[in-house]
Symmetry: C2
Subunit: 129 residues, 2 copies
Protein backbone atom coordinates (compact mmCIF):
# COMPACT_ATOMS: atom_id res chain seq x y z
CA UNK A 1 0.00 0.00 0.00
CA UNK A 2 2.46 2.56 1.15
CA UNK A 3 5.13 1.43 -1.33
CA UNK A 4 4.87 2.51 -4.85
CA UNK A 5 7.26 1.16 -7.41
CA UNK A 6 10.89 2.05 -6.92
CA UNK A 7 12.19 5.20 -8.59
CA UNK A 8 14.74 4.93 -11.36
CA UNK A 9 18.16 5.18 -9.74
CA UNK A 10 20.33 8.06 -10.87
CA UNK A 11 23.88 7.63 -12.12
CA UNK A 12 25.55 8.09 -8.78
CA UNK A 13 22.98 5.89 -7.12
CA UNK A 14 23.53 3.16 -9.63
CA UNK A 15 27.24 3.21 -8.96
CA UNK A 16 26.53 2.70 -5.28
CA UNK A 17 24.03 -0.05 -5.95
CA UNK A 18 26.71 -1.76 -8.01
CA UNK A 19 28.96 -1.88 -5.00
CA UNK A 20 26.18 -3.14 -2.76
CA UNK A 21 25.34 -5.91 -5.18
CA UNK A 22 28.95 -6.92 -5.44
CA UNK A 23 29.86 -6.73 -1.78
CA UNK A 24 26.55 -7.38 -0.10
CA UNK A 25 25.51 -5.33 2.93
CA UNK A 26 28.08 -2.62 3.47
CA UNK A 27 28.85 0.43 5.52
CA UNK A 28 29.36 3.87 4.07
CA UNK A 29 33.07 3.37 4.53
CA UNK A 30 33.01 0.15 2.57
CA UNK A 31 31.21 1.74 -0.33
CA UNK A 32 33.40 4.79 -0.25
CA UNK A 33 36.62 2.80 -0.35
CA UNK A 34 35.33 0.70 -3.19
CA UNK A 35 34.25 3.66 -5.29
CA UNK A 36 37.40 5.62 -4.72
CA UNK A 37 39.58 3.16 -6.58
CA UNK A 38 38.75 5.13 -9.67
CA UNK A 39 37.43 8.64 -9.53
CA UNK A 40 37.15 10.44 -6.26
CA UNK A 41 34.09 11.28 -4.27
CA UNK A 42 34.11 12.44 -0.69
CA UNK A 43 32.95 10.27 2.15
CA UNK A 44 30.05 12.52 3.04
CA UNK A 45 28.88 12.47 -0.54
CA UNK A 46 28.38 8.72 -0.36
CA UNK A 47 26.77 9.07 3.04
CA UNK A 48 24.33 11.67 1.79
CA UNK A 49 23.46 9.62 -1.24
CA UNK A 50 22.81 6.56 0.88
CA UNK A 51 20.58 8.60 3.17
CA UNK A 52 18.58 9.82 0.20
CA UNK A 53 18.44 6.33 -1.25
CA UNK A 54 17.04 5.13 2.07
CA UNK A 55 14.31 7.74 1.89
CA UNK A 56 13.53 6.73 -1.66
CA UNK A 57 13.39 3.10 -0.66
CA UNK A 58 16.23 2.01 -2.92
CA UNK A 59 18.23 0.64 -0.02
CA UNK A 60 17.49 -0.66 3.45
CA UNK A 61 19.47 0.51 6.47
CA UNK A 62 20.40 -1.52 9.50
CA UNK A 63 21.10 0.87 12.37
CA UNK A 64 21.87 -1.60 15.12
CA UNK A 65 25.60 -0.95 14.88
CA UNK A 66 27.20 2.43 15.14
CA UNK A 67 28.30 2.21 11.53
CA UNK A 68 25.00 1.70 9.74
CA UNK A 69 24.86 -1.15 7.27
CA UNK A 70 23.19 -0.58 3.93
CA UNK A 71 21.74 -3.13 1.61
CA UNK A 72 20.13 -2.86 -1.78
CA UNK A 73 16.41 -3.33 -1.50
CA UNK A 74 16.00 -4.74 -4.99
CA UNK A 75 18.12 -7.39 -6.63
CA UNK A 76 20.53 -6.61 -9.43
CA UNK A 77 18.52 -8.42 -12.07
CA UNK A 78 15.25 -6.88 -11.04
CA UNK A 79 16.78 -3.44 -11.23
CA UNK A 80 18.39 -4.17 -14.56
CA UNK A 81 15.09 -5.32 -16.00
CA UNK A 82 13.41 -2.28 -14.64
CA UNK A 83 15.95 -0.06 -16.34
CA UNK A 84 15.59 -1.94 -19.59
CA UNK A 85 11.81 -1.73 -19.52
CA UNK A 86 12.16 1.95 -18.80
CA UNK A 87 14.54 2.53 -21.68
CA UNK A 88 12.39 0.47 -24.03
CA UNK A 89 9.47 2.64 -23.09
CA UNK A 90 11.28 5.93 -23.47
CA UNK A 91 13.43 5.28 -26.53
CA UNK A 92 12.09 2.26 -28.39
CA UNK A 93 8.40 2.97 -28.53
CA UNK A 94 7.82 0.37 -25.86
CA UNK A 95 9.25 -2.46 -27.92
CA UNK A 96 11.74 -4.58 -26.04
CA UNK A 97 12.38 -6.56 -29.19
CA UNK A 98 13.57 -3.48 -31.02
CA UNK A 99 15.81 -2.78 -28.08
CA UNK A 100 17.34 -6.24 -28.21
CA UNK A 101 17.92 -6.11 -31.93
CA UNK A 102 19.51 -2.71 -31.73
CA UNK A 103 21.72 -3.86 -28.90
CA UNK A 104 22.80 -6.86 -30.94
CA UNK A 105 23.52 -4.89 -34.08
CA UNK A 106 25.44 -2.14 -32.47
CA UNK A 107 28.43 -4.13 -31.43
CA UNK A 108 30.97 -6.76 -32.26
CA UNK A 109 30.09 -10.01 -30.54
CA UNK A 110 32.32 -13.00 -30.27
CA UNK A 111 31.15 -16.50 -31.06
CA UNK A 112 30.82 -17.64 -27.48
CA UNK A 113 28.54 -14.77 -26.59
CA UNK A 114 26.40 -15.32 -29.63
CA UNK A 115 26.03 -18.96 -28.72
CA UNK A 116 24.98 -18.10 -25.21
CA UNK A 117 22.31 -15.83 -26.58
CA UNK A 118 21.21 -18.50 -29.02
CA UNK A 119 20.81 -21.00 -26.24
CA UNK A 120 18.76 -18.56 -24.30
CA UNK A 121 16.57 -18.11 -27.34
CA UNK A 122 16.07 -21.86 -27.54
CA UNK A 123 14.96 -21.95 -23.95
CA UNK A 124 12.54 -19.12 -24.46
CA UNK A 125 11.08 -20.63 -27.58
CA UNK A 126 10.52 -23.87 -25.74
CA UNK A 127 8.51 -22.04 -23.14
CA UNK A 128 6.43 -20.16 -25.65
CA UNK A 129 5.46 -23.26 -27.52
Amino acid sequence: MSDRQPPRPTDAELAILGVLWERGPSTVRDVHEQLNRDGSTGYTTILKLLQIMTEKGLVVRDETERAHVYQSRYGEQKTQRQLLADLAERAFGGSATKLVMQALSGRKANAAELNAIRELLDTLEGETR
Copy 2:
Protein backbone atom coordinates in the same frame (compact mmCIF):
# COMPACT_ATOMS: atom_id res chain seq x y z
CA MET B 1 37.19 19.47 -33.30
CA SER B 2 34.75 21.75 -31.62
CA ASP B 3 32.17 18.98 -31.28
CA ARG B 4 32.44 16.54 -28.52
CA GLN B 5 30.15 13.56 -28.40
CA PRO B 6 26.50 14.33 -27.93
CA PRO B 7 25.12 14.48 -24.40
CA ARG B 8 22.65 11.89 -23.23
CA PRO B 9 19.18 13.29 -23.89
CA THR B 10 16.93 13.73 -20.88
CA ASP B 11 13.44 12.29 -20.68
CA ALA B 12 11.66 15.30 -22.07
CA GLU B 13 14.29 15.70 -24.75
CA LEU B 14 13.90 12.10 -25.78
CA ALA B 15 10.17 12.54 -26.16
CA ILE B 16 10.82 15.45 -28.50
CA LEU B 17 13.42 13.55 -30.45
CA GLY B 18 10.89 10.77 -30.88
CA VAL B 19 8.55 13.19 -32.60
CA LEU B 20 11.31 14.56 -34.80
CA TRP B 21 12.33 11.09 -35.88
CA GLU B 22 8.78 10.18 -36.66
CA ARG B 23 7.76 13.36 -38.42
CA GLY B 24 11.05 14.56 -39.81
CA PRO B 25 11.94 18.28 -39.61
CA SER B 26 9.24 20.04 -37.63
CA THR B 27 8.31 23.34 -36.14
CA VAL B 28 7.69 23.89 -32.46
CA ARG B 29 3.99 23.86 -33.21
CA ASP B 30 4.24 20.50 -34.92
CA VAL B 31 6.04 18.95 -32.00
CA HIS B 32 3.73 20.53 -29.50
CA GLU B 33 0.59 19.27 -31.19
CA GLN B 34 2.04 15.80 -31.46
CA LEU B 35 3.07 15.62 -27.82
CA ASN B 36 -0.17 17.01 -26.51
CA ARG B 37 -2.20 14.03 -27.66
CA ASP B 38 -1.35 12.48 -24.35
CA GLY B 39 -0.23 14.51 -21.37
CA SER B 40 -0.09 18.27 -21.57
CA THR B 41 2.91 20.51 -21.85
CA GLY B 42 2.74 24.15 -22.77
CA TYR B 43 3.91 25.50 -26.08
CA THR B 44 6.70 27.54 -24.59
CA THR B 45 7.94 24.53 -22.71
CA ILE B 46 8.59 22.72 -25.96
CA LEU B 47 10.11 25.86 -27.43
CA LYS B 48 12.48 26.27 -24.52
CA LEU B 49 13.50 22.63 -24.64
CA LEU B 50 14.23 22.88 -28.35
CA GLN B 51 16.32 25.98 -27.75
CA ILE B 52 18.33 24.18 -25.12
CA MET B 53 18.66 21.14 -27.34
CA THR B 54 20.00 23.39 -30.08
CA GLU B 55 22.64 24.73 -27.71
CA LYS B 56 23.55 21.21 -26.73
CA GLY B 57 23.79 20.17 -30.34
CA LEU B 58 21.06 17.55 -30.11
CA VAL B 59 19.04 19.21 -32.83
CA VAL B 60 19.73 21.52 -35.74
CA ARG B 61 17.64 24.61 -36.36
CA ASP B 62 16.74 26.08 -39.70
CA GLU B 63 15.89 29.73 -39.20
CA THR B 64 15.18 30.71 -42.76
CA GLU B 65 11.45 30.69 -42.19
CA ARG B 66 9.69 32.61 -39.51
CA ALA B 67 8.67 29.41 -37.78
CA HIS B 68 12.03 27.77 -37.21
CA VAL B 69 12.31 24.18 -38.32
CA TYR B 70 14.05 21.73 -36.05
CA GLN B 71 15.63 18.47 -36.98
CA SER B 72 17.33 15.79 -34.93
CA ARG B 73 21.05 15.96 -35.41
CA TYR B 74 21.61 12.27 -34.80
CA GLY B 75 19.62 9.41 -36.25
CA GLU B 76 17.27 7.34 -34.21
CA GLN B 77 19.39 4.23 -34.35
CA LYS B 78 22.57 6.03 -33.49
CA THR B 79 20.94 7.58 -30.48
CA GLN B 80 19.42 4.29 -29.41
CA ARG B 81 22.78 2.59 -29.60
CA GLN B 82 24.32 5.39 -27.65
CA LEU B 83 21.71 4.98 -24.94
CA LEU B 84 22.22 1.23 -24.88
CA ALA B 85 25.97 1.53 -24.65
CA ASP B 86 25.49 4.01 -21.87
CA LEU B 87 23.14 1.76 -19.95
CA ALA B 88 25.41 -1.24 -20.47
CA GLU B 89 28.23 0.78 -19.02
CA ARG B 90 26.31 2.06 -16.04
CA ALA B 91 24.25 -0.97 -15.08
CA PHE B 92 25.73 -4.06 -16.70
CA GLY B 93 29.41 -3.70 -15.94
CA GLY B 94 30.03 -2.69 -19.53
CA SER B 95 28.74 -5.97 -20.95
CA ALA B 96 26.28 -5.52 -23.79
CA THR B 97 25.80 -9.28 -23.88
CA LYS B 98 24.54 -9.31 -20.32
CA LEU B 99 22.20 -6.52 -21.25
CA VAL B 100 20.81 -8.44 -24.20
CA MET B 101 20.30 -11.59 -22.19
CA GLN B 102 18.58 -9.75 -19.41
CA ALA B 103 16.35 -7.99 -21.89
CA LEU B 104 15.43 -11.30 -23.44
CA SER B 105 14.72 -13.02 -20.16
CA GLY B 106 12.65 -10.31 -18.65
CA ARG B 107 9.72 -10.49 -20.98
CA LYS B 108 7.27 -12.60 -22.88
CA ALA B 109 8.24 -12.75 -26.53
CA ASN B 110 6.13 -14.14 -29.30
CA ALA B 111 7.43 -16.58 -31.86
CA ALA B 112 7.75 -14.07 -34.66
CA GLU B 113 9.92 -11.77 -32.62
CA LEU B 114 12.13 -14.59 -31.47
CA ASN B 115 12.59 -15.66 -35.06
CA ALA B 116 13.55 -12.17 -36.10
CA ILE B 117 16.17 -12.10 -33.41
CA ARG B 118 17.41 -15.52 -34.42
CA GLU B 119 17.84 -14.39 -37.99
CA LEU B 120 19.76 -11.40 -36.83
CA LEU B 121 22.00 -13.71 -34.86
CA ASP B 122 22.64 -15.77 -37.96
CA THR B 123 23.66 -12.70 -39.86
CA LEU B 124 25.98 -11.58 -37.13
CA GLU B 125 27.58 -14.98 -36.84
CA GLY B 126 28.18 -15.02 -40.53
CA GLU B 127 30.08 -11.76 -40.29
CA THR B 128 32.15 -12.84 -37.35
CA ARG B 129 33.31 -15.99 -39.06
